[in-house]
Subunit: 238 residues, 2 copies
């Protein structure tokens, strides 16, 4: 039985830097690919309401612009390529079945950008949701494989689109697990999550451990169903 304390051959010493010392990201432009979908709209709304400059992207610039107008708080809309070009941080919130194709087509626009994948590859049948396992291991690893010149991270998987989009709700009571290979990048994503009141970004490992974080949404769907809830996650003792 393995316990969370087991480290075994993980011999490198933990960095001495305070893990809560995070950069100021308030001046960065955030793009949301798939920004007209439920999760994308919700994230765009929360970030813009927190004062972040947000551009939502869609295949159709018209659709993005009209969704942006509805969201308010200075959100702008553009086609996906223009959204990627104008942004410092690009959140990928497209449906799983368009994930690879969308990212492949934006390789040049996303070069050098900090990419935050929040896609959950799931299948559905009459028993509910279940995890799909991408060949690359996870959606985030697929993004990393398709975008060799981008800085790929993963985060924002477990958020309730209903709560995100509800203007009556002031705080989102949840932690955001942030995964990635480079600390400077995951620090930025943690800081971005912390811009949203109630939310906290917590580093939770490398991209090779993204699959279980992505597919845990299948379990949250079961929780939501049984308890008629919009479940989120908090890490205790952190």
């Amino acid at each position: 039985m393995t316990t969370p304390e087991d480290e075994k051959t993980a011999a490198a010493p933990a960095p001495a830097k305070d893990p809560w010392e995070l950069p100021d990201v308030s001046g960065l432009v955030v793009g949301v690919l798939g920004g007209t979908g439920d999760q994308g709209r919700g994230l765009a709304y929360r970030l813009a309401r927190s004062g972040q400059k947000v551009v939502i992207g869609s295949r159709s610039a018209d659709r993005a612009e009209s969704a942006a107008a509805e969201l308010g708080h200075g959100v702008e809309g553009a086609d996906n390529a223009e959204c990627a070009r104008r942004s410092d941080i690009v959140i990928v919130a497209v449906p799983w079945d368009g994930h690879a194709k969308t990212l492949e087509s934006l390789r040049d626009e996303l070069a050098g950008k900090l990419v935050v994948d929040c896609v959950n590859p799931l299948g559905f049948d009459k028993q509910g949701a279940y995890a799909l396992k991408p060949d690359e291991g996870s959606a985030a690893q697929q993004a990393a494989a398709l975008l060799p010149d981008s800085r790929v991270t993963a985060a924002f998987h477990h958020l309730s689109a209903v709560l995100l989009q509800d203007p009556e709700i002031d705080e989102i009571d949840t932690d955001v697990m942030v995964l990635g290979e480079v600390r400077a990048d995951t620090d930025i994503v943690q800081a971005l999550a912390a811009r949203i009141p109630g939310m906290r970004g917590v580093f939770a490992g490398r991209l090779r451990n993204a699959h279980q974080v992505e597919s845990l949404v299948a379990n949250l769907i079961s929780v939501n169903r049984r308890y008629k809830a919009h479940a989120g996650l908090r890490l205790t003792d952190v």
Copy 2:
């Protein structure tokens, strides 16, 4: 992008029964296979301290008995087969590499029993922990395949063995995700988790969604390392 609200073809209506109406399990005997390991000892200690009758099992009855004596609170020790025979609920807390062999050898003793698998199949290298994917999908599904006459559930994956074993700590601040196919069984496991002060058992899906729950321990190991914590999980809005 799939959100936790998506149900799509999950058409069966949610049961009307109050999900917090759980059975009284205070009279059931709980066995812990692998009860001399860190997680097994920790669980046995917490359950016994909460008034549950606990028998820990080990390959060697002598080792089990001396560990039981150390734990106190009426814990008894036996070899694994005797532990299984004497128990109503059997928690499987053995190391992953002995999982299949141990369960196969106890098929008869575990027939009819409520089995709770809490094993996390992980590998370790110099970058830390990573998920192993059993052929059956998860440790819990392997248990279900090997024990066709038992009632197999999965739970207690994310507990800190350090916190469980610390007598100075009165409450364990965490939820326990409980997975299984049969509501009467998962209800019992939820009720068992709730016996431990601070803990709450929450239904979190079927066994086919156990892999991500098991392997999330790899992420908790990263969290513990970065934040020098003993991280647990809480489900919000539930």
